[in-house]
């Protein structure tokens, strides 16, 4: 091969290499152009879409729970308030060794070994930045101790939350009720769903005013827009829309009276309602035994819950509005009013009581075995004669008795924000036919005449009935004070004044005449004379054999079989201001058990505090003094109202 050929080949190859370098350069340039074109598409053409996606990535909405409206009594004393709940949370990622930190914490506050293990377990299940609640409801002292020791407790964060707290809880439990964490069932019944309910464990009203006025008390949630990172951790707040706190509610209840009544009824399965006759304001509504609603706020234990459920005295039940009892002799005013209104009997007309009333082959008995002899209407009320009212009821008839009962407020539920309101019951012929398929018998009417048989009334209804009789007006109860609405005088009942005066006089005689059934429990202060009516409602049937051998005394019967004791009254007699009813379940006789309680409560209201013993008959003063002093001591020791709130 010649050297020449070699050189041409070499120069040819050199040119090829040059060419290819340039070609490769061009290819690279086009590759770069392609990249540039793609970047242009992403960053200029589609940029807006990607910006939205980036925002969706990073922005999260968080709800800020509104602070719940407070509940006050009529004088502005707080009953349900939001208490600062001192708690500590633990964030795993900030603690080096969580187990060690918990051990150190256990030296400062009480923290069981089991609880520590549970916390560590919970932590493992969640992301490392999620705070886990370690302890709640700490005392200020413990909280301060933790705060001071924070440098040695990495990951522990003291926090202050708001938790519902009920003052004077025992006497208010049945009215105010309680809140608790929302359940799936609660969510279903809410439509449309308030977004605030999606906050885990958000507390809503479960019972009572808390439940019924939930919409007012709840308020509106605020929204906090926060920036989160890829693992969901909050980095910072972008903006915040303030929510609205719930409305405050003012009850018509007077706390001092409420507490006195509660204390007076303590130990019994009983209830009492005191109404201001002029305004219809319920000043006191008590049911015993009671429970501690604070236990429900953070979740009640299973054993506490079943204890409440299985108690035969039913602490969870608001007996004043949910308990319906045969009204017994307190119903006799209804029959009397109906008869007088219809002119079926005159004030001086007398009916003879032989101790029983014959209807066909059956005898209807009077409570007084020997009978009362000849009686006028007022005397019949005073002595609570059964035979008189058998006769009268028969004259009036069940339909017209029912009409009068409804006019006086029985057989209906009032528009009150309370749960489990009972309507009571006023029977009719039609109802019996539908319910039992049997016709109404005259005997049924006789039973209705003395408040036995089918009729049922709640203590609240009895108080309303008494208030209506005392005022002649259509008093309707209310439990929420409404300062905006000027409640005008309730309209008149359109019952003749004569009728009302006669019945009031009869009721006055019950306490203030020698043979009145509650004469023992009269007052001696002339300004504060009470008029009332006793009632004893049977919860069992007295057989003929038993009646012949002598009716068994209540004290000898098992508790569940004893009669209910009822008493309803108003005062002062001359210028009625308050109506009151007291029902003691299985208490025995109304005159012996319910009347003295009613007198104490009524006098407390009339005097605006513990009544002086001089208001009682001389013979009772010693006993009364001991009783009242005892109650006063208990009330004072229980006071837990913070006047600064």
């Amino acid at each position: 091969m010649s050297k020449f050929k070699d050189t041409t080949l070499k120069s040819k190859l050199i040119r090829r290499v040059h060419r290819r370098i340039v070609l490769a350069g061009l290819l690279k340039a086009s590759a770069v152009a392609l990249l540039g074109w793609n970047i242009r598409k992403l960053q200029i053409e589609d940029s807006e879409d990607y910006k939205l996606l980036a925002d969706a990535n990073r922005v999260n909405l968080r709800l800020i729970p509104p602070s719940r409206g407070l509940i006050f009594d009529r004088l502005g004393t707080p009953i349900a308030l939001n208490e600062q709940n001192y708690k500590v949370v633990f964030i795993r990622e900030q603690a080096g060794d969580p187990g060690k930190v918990l051990k150190r914490l256990a030296n400062i506050i009480e923290l069981e070994q089991k609880r520590q293990e549970k916390i560590l377990q919970d932590m493992k299940k969640r992301s490392s930045f999620i705070p886990i609640t370690v302890a709640e409801n700490l005392t200020w002292k413990d909280f301060a101790k933790i705060s001071v020791n924070l440098p040695s407790l990495p990951g522990i964060i003291p926090e202050v939350g708001l938790t519902r707290h009920y003052q004077e809880y025992e006497s208010y439990a049945h009215i105010v009720g309680y809140v608790g964490p929302i359940s799936d069932k609660d969510l279903e019944s809410e439509k449309p769903v308030d977004p605030v309910l999606q906050i885990p464990k958000f507390q809503i009203g479960k019972v009572g005013v808390e439940k019924k006025l939930e919409k007012h008390l709840r308020g509106r949630a605020g929204v906090s827009k926060v920036e989160v990172n890829a693992s969901g951790r909050v980095m910072r707040e972008l903006n915040r829309t303030q929510g609205k706190s719930g409305e405050n509610i003012h009850l018509t209840i007077a706390t001092n009276l409420q507490k006195f009544a509660s204390e007076r009824l303590k130990g019994m399965s009983a209830s009492s309602v005191l109404i201001d006759i002029n305004s219809g304001d319920i000043l006191s509504l008590v049911s015993t035994p009671s429970y501690n609603p604070n236990n429900f706020v953070l979740g009640i234990s299973q054993s506490d819950w079943s204890a409440l459920l299985n108690d035969e005295r039913k602490p969870l039940l608001n007996k004043a509005t949910s308990g319906a009892y045969p009204p017994g002799s307190t119903f006799k005013m209804v029959v009397a009013a109906a008869a007088l209104e219809l002119g079926l009997i005159g004030l001086n007309d007398k009916i003879f009581c032989a101790g029983f009333y014959e209807l066909g082959s059956r005898n209807f008995h009077c409570w007084l075995k020997g009978g009362h002899g000849k009686l006028t209407l007022q005397e019949a009320i005073q002595k609570s004669c059964d035979v008189y009212f058998y006769e009268l009821a028969r004259k009036v008839g069940v339909k017209r008795i029912g009409d009068m009962a409804r006019r006086l407020g029985l057989g209906q539920a009032y528009n009150l924000p309370l749960t489990g309101l009972s309507k009571g019951f006023v029977p009719t012929k039609k109802w019996k036919k539908e319910r039992f398929g049997t016709s109404w018998l005259v005997g049924d009417t006789l039973n209705v005449g003395i408040g036995q048989g089918f009729s049922l009334a709640t203590p609240l209804q009895l108080a309303v009935m008494t208030a209506r009789l005392a005022s002649g007006k259509e008093v309707t109860p209310n439990i929420i004070k409404n300062p905006n609405k000027n409640v005008g005088d309730p309209k008149a009942l359109s019952i003749k004044e004569n009728t009302l005066v006669a019945i009031r006089k009869g009721m006055f005689n019950v306490l203030n005449e020698k043979e009145g059934t509650a004469f023992n429990f009269r007052t001696t202060d002339k300004n504060f004379l009470i008029a009332g009516k006793t009632g004893t409602s049977q919860v069992r049937r007295i057989t003929r054999e038993e009646r012949e051998e002598g009716v068994i005394k209540n004290e000898d019967l098992p508790w569940k079989m004893r009669d209910h004791a009822l008493f309803t009254c108003f005062a002062p007699y001359k210028n009625p201001k308050y109506a009151l009813s007291v029902v003691v379940e299985h208490g025995g006789s109304g005159s012996k058990v319910a009347a003295p309680i009613a007198r104490d409560i009524m006098l407390f209201q009339l005097y605006g505090g513990i009544p002086p013993v001089t208001a009682y008959p001389e013979k009772q003063q010693l006993e009364v003094r001991n009783r009242l002093m005892d109650i006063e001591k208990k009330i004072n020791s229980r006071t837990n109202i913070n006047p600064n709130i």
Binding site: L42, K51, N57
Partner: protein, 370 residues
């Protein structure tokens, strides 16, 4: 010639462009660490300036020296690849790293340089009439395929493919007959077809995760929270940057950890998000200028070794940034290739600076000859 005088003849524009790119890197690393010198910015700066001085030192050494040691470099590189296969640290299911106490080396990266060196040496020595002779085509092919196979078994498919690509490219520049490349291209696509056919059979040629990555690449939206997450988030970051970007240290995607590997392979997305279109195109232009100056330098040299060495190393640099950018934009599957001079990492930094040292040495000695 006095070594200090040689420095005057260095390719200064190239050197300045390298510095500019590195500054981009420092800026971005400072941003992704949330405005802090630690843990990435400071080590990166130290590494860069040490290796930047290394470029000057290397450029002062005669190109004939580098030419002479080329075969030894290749043998050393191959030995390291084998060593890493047996003794390497395992990371992310692959043996890629060799702990040499002083530095943790990724031999497959360093091997790219020694392979370019040996191929340049080979064609420098090969008589021109034998360039397209089948036997003399087979020899460099083996020089490429054997190490590529070792890297593939690490397993590191991405780097293996890049090694093959660079090797073939050097052969192409060296002037091997065009027919071989046509044939090679045809075989490549046939092989690709067979690869996909093998999926799910018992003679499957690739690991499952390779196939999954390819699936993700083809349709990232199919699994936005799983395998496609990186690409989806990366595109969101890129796109949301817009024309001017969200501002330095203001990129929500990168600052809030939505981006994977934000300090290494995905650092381009942070740049794109915070500096927008101007930032990305700016970096792309700097990269292109580096490549352009290398090409001019290659065309200016007189000997074949220098020419092939510069083009080959320039191609290495080009594959780094083009594949990385294409990858974060979802144009290529996610393979672990860093953004040169910007991504955090010692191994790739050293390799790139070494190759620039060689390029500068060839440039300085272009008229000196041998």
């Amino acid at each position: 010639m006095n070594p200090f005088i040689k420095i005057i003849y260095i390719n200064w524009p190239l050197q300045i462009l390298i510095l500019a790119t590195a500054l981009f890197g420092f800026l971005m690393l400072y941003s992704v660490s949330g405005g802090s010198w630690e843990p990435w910015t400071k080590p990166q700066i130290n590494r860069f300036f040490i290796s930047f001085i290394l470029i000057f030192v290397m450029s002062a050494i005669s190109i004939s020296f580098w030419q002479k040691i080329s075969p030894f470099c290749y043998i050393l590189g191959l030995a390291l690849l084998i060593a890493v296969y047996f003794y390497g640290d395992t990371g992310m299911g692959a043996k890629r790293w060799l702990d040499l106490r002083v530095i943790k080396l990724q031999p497959s990266e360093a091997f790219k340089i020694s392979m370019v060196m040996v191929l340049a040496y080979y064609y420098h020595k090969l008589p021109v009439n034998k360039v397209s002779h089948p036997f003399y085509v087979l020899v460099p092919l083996l020089l490429i395929i054997i190490p590529a196979f070792i890297v593939f078994r690490q397993p590191d498919l991405g780097t293996a493919l890049v090694i093959i690509m660079i090797g073939i490219f050097v052969m192409f520049i060296a002037g091997v007959h065009f027919g071989y490349f046509l044939f090679g291209g045809f075989s490549f696509f046939t092989l690709l077809f067979i690869l996909f056919q093998s999926r799910g059979t018992d003679w499957q040629l690739l690991k499952d995760y390779h196939f999954r990555r390819i699936d993700t690449f083809l349709d990232p939206s199919a699994d936005p929270l799983g395998a496609g997450y990186h690409i989806t988030q990366s595109k969101i970051a890129l796109g949301s940057g817009g024309l001017f970007g969200r501002g330095y240290m203001q990129g929500s995607q990168s600052q809030l950890n939505f981006l994977p590997e934000k300090h290494t392979d995905f650092i381009f997305t942070t740049l794109a998000e915070e500096f927008g279109f101007f930032g990305t195109i700016g970096l792309l232009i700097i990269y292109s200028l580096i490549v352009a100056f290398c090409i001019f330098s290659a065309l200016a040299t007189t000997d074949k070794y220098s020419r092939l060495l510069i083009t080959g190393l320039c191609m290495t640099f080009f594959t780094y940034f083009s594949i990385n950018i294409a990858m974060v934009m979802g144009l290529l599957p996610v393979v672990g290739i860093p953004l040169p001079l910007v991504s955090y990492g010692g191994s790739s930094m050293i390799v790139i600076m070494l190759s620039f040292g060689l390029i500068q040495s060839a440039h300085v000695h272009k008229n000196v000859g041998f």
